[in-house]
């Protein structure tokens, strides 16, 4: 049973520091080996999990959600009212989609998402978080100087465009709905989904381009 004692954990961390191999791949391998021995995981299932997150679960799921919101006003209303239910309806429920909030960009406002305290991310619809999202650089700066961080991503905003930063401090996760680009009126939902970039759903991309990013 977990001790819930931080002092115990500090001791264990220090102990591990001198006992674990330095290479992260070897550390993970050691963990997998002992968990297999203990009957707690099967390596075959880990292989499958990696496949599922490489092939099926990733930002293309979020892109379908956004594209549908663009073409289906009733769905968009449901998505804005209860993101978890709307995503579940599309068969996209999964880790961190239990409390999902969609926030919409407008010509006058821009949304950007962060988790300053750890690395919370809506895995079920965006897949694995990019490494930059989890770095000290992004987490420290995007709350304090969002415009400077956005500029590094190539997003230049006028001083009049309001920037709303969402710091994921509880179990709510955020999905940014970027604006639908002009000139896409005749496009199908599948074609529209291809325009939606991962970063636009985090908020570090804004003006989506026809013909890809």
């Amino acid at each position: 049973m977990s001790s819930f004692d931080p002092k115990e954990i500090t001791k264990i961390h220090q102990h591990l520091h001198s006992h674990l191999p330095s290479d992260p791949a070897l550390r993970v391998k050691a963990l997998e080996t002992i968990l297999v021995e203990k009957g707690m995981v099967k390596s075959e299932n880990i292989d499958k999990w990696v496949e599922v997150y490489a092939d099926d679960i990733g930002p293309k799921r979020g892109a379908y959600v956004v594209a549908r919101a663009w073409v289906d006003p009733d769905f968009k209303a449901r998505l804005l009212a209860d993101g978890s239910k709307a995503v579940d309806e599309m068969g996209f429920a999964g880790p961190a989609s239990g409390h999902l909030k969609a926030v919409e960009n407008t010509p006058d406002s821009h949304n950007v998402v962060v988790c300053t305290l750890c690395s919370c991310y809506p895995f079920a619809i965006l897949g694995m978080a990019p490494n930059w999202y989890k770095t000290a650089a992004y987490r420290s700066r995007v709350v304090r100087e969002p415009r400077a961080v956005l500029a590094e991503f190539g997003v230049e905003l006028s001083q009049d465009t309001a920037v709303h930063v969402w710091d994921s401090t509880a179990e709510l996760r955020y999905l940014v709905i970027p604006e639908r680009p002009a000139g896409t009126e005749g496009m199908s939902q599948d074609e529209l989904a291809k325009l939606v970039t991962r970063n636009s759903m985090i908020g570090t991309d804004r003006d989506l381009k026809i013909g890809g990013a």
């Binding site: 931080p6 591990l16 995981v41 999990w49 490489a54 930059w132 000290a136 509880a170 570090t204």
Partner: protein, 218 residues
């Protein structure tokens, strides 16, 4: 806990690497660590305790070692703490006990289904009425505490406005002690100028989810 993890607003970091290749995993071990973190849990572990164990990694390692390495260290530490295995077993790869569980081999669709079942809910019913209402101005606590908490340092002793009521959610500070207590949860919006001073853009804001005990009427 005023630890290294509480990074919001801290100066001296950056720039952001915007040229990172867009791929699910940059190394095989990342995917394997992700999969293990979804499917193997130490007895009694809560999401909040797991986060706290990660926060307790030494500052040097927290900042400098690769991200999924910190997940490995966190999971290993929480499993040693819970008695799933000891360091000797980890080093040798040989279990000194009978298997603790039995896992069936799954196919691709089985994993997809398992994944779908992981949309966990953290809202709970509570009897006490919510103390605050949407539109109300609130002041956040000035002080943190030594344990796990989700009120970051940059948002302490600040005035914000409640924009949404989220229902009562499992309280993270208690969750890290293995206790399940729910408290009313609100989204609170702070003007960037309130957080960072007059040099911030007056149009900008930062919103956080905050539990009722982090807040007072202002």
């Amino acid at each position: 806990m005023d630890g290294i993890h509480d990074l919001g607003g801290k100066l001296g970091y950056g720039p952001v690497d915007v040229n990172e290749p867009e791929e699910p995993f940059h190394a095989d071990y990342e995917g394997r660590m992700w999969a293990m973190s979804r499917t193997a849990r130490a007895p009694g572990v809560t999401i909040d305790w797991w986060r706290h164990v990660r926060e307790l990694i030494t500052a040097e390692d927290y900042l400098n070692r690769p991200y999924f390495d910190s997940w490995a260290q966190t999971t290993i530490a929480s499993m040693i703490d819970a008695g799933v295995f000891n360091i000797e077993e980890l080093e040798s790869g040989i279990s000194q006990t009978q298997p603790l569980g039995h896992v069936e081999i799954m196919d691709y669709d089985g994993v997809l289904k398992q994944n779908t079942g992981m949309a966990f809910k953290f809202d709970r019913l509570v009897e006490e009425p919510a103390e605050f209402v949407v539109g109300q101005s609130v002041l956040t606590n000035a002080k943190g505490h030594s344990g796990h908490t989700r009120l970051p340092e940059y948002a302490r002793a600040k005035v914000g406005v409640i924009t949404h009521y989220r229902g009562a959610h499992v309280f993270a500070d208690d969750g890290a002690k293995g206790l399940e207590n729910a408290q009313h949860l609100y989204t609170v919006s702070f003007k960037a100028t309130e957080l960072w001073g007059d040099t911030a853009n007056p149009n900008d804001s930062v919103s956080l989810e905050l539990w009722e005990s982090y807040l007072a009427a202002s």
